[in-house]
């Protein structure tokens, strides 16, 4: 394997969780719900996946564990914000704080345990293509899922009837309600989809990225995923591109550290976070594009009048 292929592989590994978590949040936000708890759902997914894999010995059951724990955890957020109409920003923060705490407590038993790594699946014929083959077709299941998810969500949001409903709710929940769409139920499902995705992203972290459990191992990726949604202006394909851009920044700073260029490692580690800020400025600077695409009901509570 050439060094070029090796770098590309690590970029993909770093980008996949960002893409998946951000994609879930994209659907949630398209339905008008702002869930800032991505970081918390992700870390719960990571510990859920690790625990499920340890208890059963199978990384695939680990994936299921991650998805289920992320979705169940997001249900807590959905109940509070949708049924009890609490403030979405504050509740999202609560979800993150609780997630980081609970994962630390649940994961304590697994600190230092040898992880179970999810192995790559080689797709015959395609993987034999030089360069592209090893990078794209000798990957783990979660990578394939991430690509399928981008395609699927894009189709779902813009081509399916339910997708249309979700976008309608996100843009004007009162009108959607008047048209007979069940706003609350749809939002519940959208939040849980977001949670499931964040959980899958967490599973990628504890089964592939660093196959072990360490506290706070999501280290801000959930927040970067939230920024990615803004970056993508709520469009799946742009989100995929953005995710890979961020993954590349993360990996390049690691390689720069390894090559020992004269900049202290801490400053290189700041790069992904600084890049997020810069990108946010670039995107929000242009008021027209952000205003047109932002779901108009985003973050607003909905109480049906009876």
């Amino acid at each position: 394997m050439s060094i070029f292929e090796a770098i590309l592989l690590t970029v993909i590994t770093a980008s996949t969780p960002l893409v998946i978590a951000a994609l879930g949040e994209l659907v949630t936000e398209r339905s008008g719900v702002l869930n800032l708890g991505v970081e918390g759902m992700m870390i719960i997914g990571a510990v859920g996946a690790f625990a499920a894999a340890q208890l059963t010995g199978s990384a695939y059951i680990g994936i299921v564990g991650g998805i289920v724990s992320g979705a169940l955890f997001s249900l807590l957020f959905a109940f509070l914000t949708l049924t009890l109409v609490t403030n979405q920003v504050a509740t999202g923060l609560a979800l993150t704080i609780l997630g980081l705490g609970a994962s630390g407590m649940l994961g304590e038993a697994f600190v230092g345990a040898p992880g179970i790594r999810l192995l790559p699946i080689e797709i015959p014929v395609l993987s034999a293509i030089p360069y592209v083959g090893t990078v794209l077709f000798k990957q783990d299941l979660i990578f394939y899922l991430s690509i399928l998810l981008v395609i699927g969500v894009n189709w779902f949001l813009f081509r399916s009837r339910t997708g249309l409903k979700i976008r309608a709710i996100g843009d004007n929940h009162a009108s959607a309600h008047a048209l007979g769409i069940n706003v609350i139920r749809t939002r519940y499902l959208a939040v849980m989809f977001g949670g499931a995705c964040a959980g899958l992203a967490g599973a990628q972290l504890s089964l592939i990225y660093t196959p072990q459990w360490t506290e706070n191992m999501s280290s801000g990726r959930g927040w970067i995923a939230l920024a990615l949604v803004v970056f993508s202006s709520w469009r799946p394909w742009r989100l995929l591109a953005g995710g890979y851009l961020f993954g590349a920044v993360t990996i390049l700073q690691l390689h720069a550290q390894a090559f020992g260029i004269g900049i202290p490692s801490q400053f290189l580690s700041m790069l992904p976070y600084a890049a997020t800020v810069v990108v946010l400025i670039m995107i929000s600077h242009n008021r027209r594009t952000t205003m047109i695409n932002t779901p108009a009901s985003l973050g607003k509570a909905f109480v049906p009048d009876r």
Partner: protein, 361 residues
């Protein structure tokens, strides 16, 4: 079964007081269940967590030490949240305040003067305010989401501190440990009542800040401006208030208080800089602000409660062998219950048992 909410004609004053207490009770109940599931006697565990730390004088001092930064930061955050500015990066402003406040005692180690401590206080507050100015500038001029930018800056501040204590500011005599040199005595925030414990002046600052902000919110035009702009930017504009200026004011103010808290923490409690200077005070202060209903006097009470969770976590770890991670779980649960109980202020709950739906859904 369905839960239906019915809007109250008026905001319920009663539940304004009852809801934080209800949230506490619910958190304790869940805590008891959690301890039982961990195989501990719930009563003994809860008492070790929440009661025993209150029974000794030295331990009350520790409570004041932990409550001080929480109250200081939360009071500033309350101004932000009331004016609808979401500063989530207090942890970063705390860190930068600690760094700028430590500039004198580390770089000018040999300068002994009674001026050192007052200057450190000013520098700490200034550092925190300047760091908070970044998300404020970006929000005011580029319309950038302040939640995400202030949060990204937390990671940047922590890495910057890490670099300082491992590099330029490392103590040459520190046996290669990543710590700065210890502050000289005149750079240490003095204890309030030395005979009985360690509690230092930060707690006094916190109380002064809380009372000052309470006065500002209640009796001054600035306070009125904060509340009006927070409830409706449009209404504020008609009154001639500027939302843009409010972004600056609330961020600089909360940043300065967080910076002051950071400076007090390194000067009063730790005595030098090190890679980790906060057990998440900046994030816990968010819970403190909400539990105190964004009211500075309420924040004094809620700051003490959250400080108790830190203290109880440490105590429970020693006495009954429960992981100190339980602290974070308690804090998260508390915020959840606070938010959900607050709903009772605005809505009445009606549980509908029948499956027959009334009218169009």
């Amino acid at each position: 079964m369905r839960i239906e909410l019915e809007k109250r004609p008026d905001v319920s004053k009663l539940f304004g007081f009852v809801s934080p207490l209800l949230a506490l009770v619910l958190t304790l109940t869940f805590g008891a269940i959690m301890f039982a599931m961990l195989g501990k006697d719930p009563a003994a565990a809860l008492s070790a967590f929440f009661v025993e730390p209150l029974l000794e004088v030295w331990s009350l001092h520790e409570l004041a030490i932990k409550a001080a930064p929480l109250i200081l930061i939360a009071v500033g955050l309350a101004v932000c949240y009331r004016s609808n500015n979401w500063n989530i990066g207090a942890e970063g402003q705390f860190t930068i305040g600690a760094i700028t406040g430590s500039y004198l005692p580390i770089v000018f180690y040999d300068w002994h003067s009674p001026l050192v401590l007052p200057l450190m206080l000013v520098l700490g507050a200034l550092g925190g305010a300047l760091f908070a100015a970044v998300p404020a500038l970006l929000k005011a001029h580029f319309n950038t989401n302040e939640i995400l930018t202030s949060l990204m800056l937390v990671y940047i501040a922590q890495l910057f501190l890490d670099w300082l204590v491992r590099g330029a500011w490392r103590d040459p005599k520190g046996f290669n440990f990543p710590v700065s040199r210890d502050f000289a005595p005149e750079a240490v925030l003095p204890a309030i009542w030395e005979e009985s414990g360690r509690a230092h002046w930060a707690f006094v600052f916190a109380i002064i800040a809380a009372i000052g902000v309470w006065f500002m919110l209640r009796y001054t035009l600035k306070g009125f401006e904060i509340v009006v702009l927070g409830q409706s930017e449009r209404a504020g504009r008609f009154a001639g208030f500027s939302a843009k200026k409010m972004i600056w004011f609330s961020f600089l103010f909360s940043g300065a208080l967080a910076g002051l808290a950071g400076m007090s923490e390194v000067s009063g409690s730790i005595g030098h800089l090190q890679p980790a200077i906060s057990p998440g005070y900046g994030f816990t202060a968010i819970i403190v602000a909400f539990l105190g209903r964004l009211n500075p006097l309420g924040i004094i009470a809620s700051g003490l409660v959250l400080a108790l969770t830190y203290l109880g976590g440490e105590a429970a770890q020693l006495s009954i062998g429960i992981s100190d991670k339980v602290t974070r779980v308690f804090q998260g649960l508390l915020l959840f219950f606070v938010l959900s109980c607050d709903m009772l202020i605005y809505y009445k709950i009606r549980i509908v048992w029948s499956r027959v739906r009334g009218g169009a859904v």
